[in-house]
């Protein structure tokens, strides 16, 4: 009797497993069904979980907003399908996610969101001929040698160059110091170009200090060294969390100095537990601010806040622009939505390297180089009364 019960239990467990496997099988196949009808399947890759999840989710939401707008505006035209896969900010997982999207019938790729995973995906996409436009992977390795990969954001070197030019022209007499993260490719990438560009203008950096991810809480040693060197403008090519620590500690030391940040500084005003009055007067190079007076930006911010209950960051705006750029460029190729991923790739490369321009939240009249880098005017903002004001 007991045995019989046990057999029953095993049978139930086994059948549950079988059903699960069938569901799994369905799941992987049903994705392809979306390509029926007049739809363009756009895949996305980014970190939806893990330490960098903030960026991936912003891209996911920003793109979703654009896709919904396009689909609603023209229900009889090309409909977009947006499918974002998680890569946990890991190159290996990112390639898996890319393969999954190809299995699902992806036609165009937006991503990957972060640089290291994007580099791995870019070479896969290059070999497999997928057109990729990354909203935010700014490292130079992303586009290097890949004719099919384009960036919507400034590349790291270009951010460094733009910052150096701005500081050299607008603060010619400042003694400039740098604190950067030498264990982070984003930070060291910007710093390298900043240094060479700044020195090319005939000036010298007064002091340079580095830190790594493991030691990003205490900056008194670095700040003292900058203070002793008489630095009155600090260039911070780093993310906002360590930057907030630097500002707090400099304030405690009574060190009054001007800060200049890049797009990683975006988000500092929303940081919990940080006295935002310390960020007053901070200059930063950013393509997008949610406080802009621009009507398109205002509408975007409003729609985003309504839908996702949070203020969009730059990554969301980048992704929003990506979708529109791809939609417009696809219209220019003259291809139907039944075209294969490979055909779309070649046609899109033709459009992007031609005289195609895209306008959006992050810039007007963006143009792309054949190398994949974007040409757009950098915006410098200053923080005044807890808001970004364009300078």
């Amino acid at each position: 009797m007991k045995n019989k019960k046990w057999t029953k239990f095993v049978a139930v467990v086994l059948s549950c497993m079988m059903i699960l496997m069938m569901v799994a099988g369905c799941g992987s196949k049903s994705g392809g069904g979306d390509s029926e009808g007049n739809t363009l399947y756009i895949g996305g890759i980014g970190p939806l979980t893990g330490a960098a999840a903030l960026y991936g989710n912003a891209v996911k939401n920003g793109a979703q907003l654009a896709v919904d707008e396009i689909n609603a505006a023209n229900p009889d035209g090309v409909q977009l399908v947006w499918d974002m896969q998680d890569d946990e900010h890991d190159a290996e997982k990112s390639v898996n996610a890319y393969n999954k999207l190809v299995d699902n019938g992806m036609q165009v790729l937006i991503g990957a969101v972060t640089t290291a995973p994007c580099t791995a995906v870019a070479s896969e996409a290059n070999a497999n001929r997928t057109f990729a436009l990354t909203p935010s992977a700014s490292g130079p390795a992303v586009t290097e040698g890949n004719d099919n990969v384009f960036q919507l954001c400034f590349s790291d070197p270009n951010q460094g160059i733009a910052s150096a030019e701005y500081i050299a022209t607008n603060y010619p007499d400042a003694k400039v110091g740098v604190i950067y993260n030498n264990a982070d490719n984003y930070s060291s990438g910007i710093y390298d170009k900043f240094k060479s560009e700044y020195e090319a203008s005939g000036k010298q950096l007064a002091a340079v200090e580095a830190f790594s991810d493991d030691a990003n809480a205490d900056f008194t040693a670095q700040l003292n060294s900058l203070k002793n060197a008489g630095v009155d403008l600090i260039f911070l090519p780093i993310y906002y969390t360590p930057a907030s620590n630097i500002m707090t500690q400099a304030n405690k030391m009574g060190y009054d100095v001007t800060y200049f940040g890049v797009d990683g500084m975006d988000g500092i005003l929303d940081l919990e537990g940080f006295d935002t009055s310390l960020a007053e007067g901070v200059l930063l190079l950013t393509p997008f601010t949610p406080y802009s007076e621009d009507e398109a930006v205002q509408n975007f911010v409003k729609a985003y806040e309504e839908k996702f209950n949070e203020t969009p960051i730059q990554f969301a705006a980048d992704a929003y622009d990506c979708v529109y750029a791809i939609y417009d460029a696809f219209g220019k190729t003259g291809l139907g939505t039944d075209a294969s991923m490979e055909d779309i790739c070649e046609a899109m490369i033709g459009v992007f390297t031609g005289d195609f321009t895209a306008s959006g939240l992050t810039a007007e009249e963006m143009k792309w180089e054949a190398s994949g880098e974007v040409n757009k005017t950098p915006k410098v903002c200053i923080i005044e009364d807890g808001k970004y004001v364009e300078k």
């Binding site: 190809v102 290291a116 490719n185």
Partner: protein
């Protein structure tokens, strides 16, 4: 009638060859899983039954199996807790990338380059294993775990500031700054960015060969005189010492062989992606490999093979759960941990196995028949 008897004898002989003792059983099951798995997956891929997503994971799965097998040598067979396996993997991976980049111009065959990458990875990882092994293998238990953990972090931090580049044919390296005269494509490793522009040379077949090689080394070591010494020291250090076993030497053998195998797996891993950052080989990766070993049963080689395969595929198979993916993964892990170690569940599973296993059933029947013989004196 006679033919049948002969068949039976043949089967018995065969069974003896493959399942004769514990060692043979383990070897047969382990090699069997790998070879059958390889053939099935290869056939499936050729027939177009397996999607890109799964095909893309063939090489990482082989790599993780190799790592699980090699870590089992330290954790299961030598009985020490090592938390720095990813460190050896990192050493092997970056060495392999440097070697292949140097050979790229002169050696067109990808497989040859891959072979040398794996070989170089094994050598450097073994050297790292000796350097770290000699001072620390006198330590026991938790202390060894702490030092190996530190080793993994040290390797990652060194790789974060190491720059390698080719200047003409010369290999140059520097700490914490870019190298003069080495630009763009000539850079091999650039600090925290790691290696970019790697030409992929790893294939499923070569990765499987590496896995089989790893299995061969570990199983043979386990079944050798050295292996028995290693296990004797694990089971009772004092007794082992008292009969003249050099404890440190045998622990070092296990540790260094394991490190070299991890270096080989790392080199294979590095050759499977166009980019590789030092961050990949952090503490989490070490723990992941340890989880394969623990989940498969410490010391159980084929259990580790299955665990590594399942846990690599699982997160990908769970993609349709979207937001709940990581949650589901964690729940599955916990359930499996509880189920495989719970004595009640194990006993029940054993009962089921007895029911469905043909051999055990036959044995039972025979026993019953014998009982019958004694009581009823009846012959069928």
């Amino acid at each position: 009638m006679a033919e049948r008897k002969e068949n039976k004898a043949g089967a018995k002989r065969l069974r003896n060859i493959f399942f004769g003792n514990e060692y043979k059983k383990e070897a047969t099951i382990s090699y069997g899983i790998l070879i059958v798995g390889y053939i099935l997956l290869q056939l499936g891929a050729n027939a177009g039954l397996i999607g890109r997503n799964l095909q893309g994971q063939f090489v990482p799965i082989c790599v993780y199996i190799s790592l699980a097998i090699s870590l089992n040598l330290v954790v299961g067979i030598s009985g020490e807790l090592s938390l720095g396996h990813a460190g050896f993997m990192s050493v092997g991976a970056f060495t392999g990338i440097i070697v292949t980049r140097m050979m790229e111009a002169s050696m067109p065959s990808g497989n040859v380059r891959l072979f040398f990458a794996v070989l170089a990875g094994a050598i450097t990882a073994a050297i790292a294993g000796i350097i770290i092994g000699i001072p620390i293998l006198g330590l026991r238990g938790d202390y060894l775990a702490i030092v190996t953990l530190a080793f993994g972090e040290i390797v990652r931090n060194i790789m974060n500031v190491l720059y390698f580049g080719l200047d003409g044919k010369k290999l140059k390296f520097a700490f914490n700054h870019t190298i003069d005269g080495v630009e763009g494509n000539q850079r091999i490793i650039t600090g925290a960015i790691g290696a970019t522009g790697v030409t992929k040379t790893a294939t499923f077949t070569t990765a499987m060969l590496l896995t089989l090689f790893t299995l061969f080394v570990v199983l043979n070591l386990k079944n050798s005189k050295h292996g028995r010494c290693i296990m004797a020291v694990r089971d009772n250090r004092i007794a082992g010492e008292s009969i003249g076993i050099n404890v440190k030497k045998y622990k070092l053998i296990a540790f260094v062989v394991s490190a070299a195998l991890a270096g080989m797996a790392g080199a294979m891993f590095g050759q499977n992606y166009s980019t590789l950052a030092p961050l990949k080989f952090n503490f989490n990766t070490s723990v992941l490999i340890l989880v394969f070993v623990v989940l498969g049963g410490i010391g159980n080689i084929w259990g580790g093979i299955l665990a590594a395969t399942l846990l690599t595929i699982l997160p990908e198979a769970l993609r349709q759960f979207a937001d709940y993916r990581m949650l589901t993964y964690a729940v599955v892990l916990i359930v499996v941990m509880i189920c495989t170690y719970n004595p009640t569940i194990r006993a029940r599973a054993g009962m089921v196995w007895e029911k469905i296993s043909p051999r055990k059933r036959r044995k039972k029947k025979a026993e019953e028949a014998a009982d019958h013989d004694e009581t009823g004196k009846e012959e069928m």
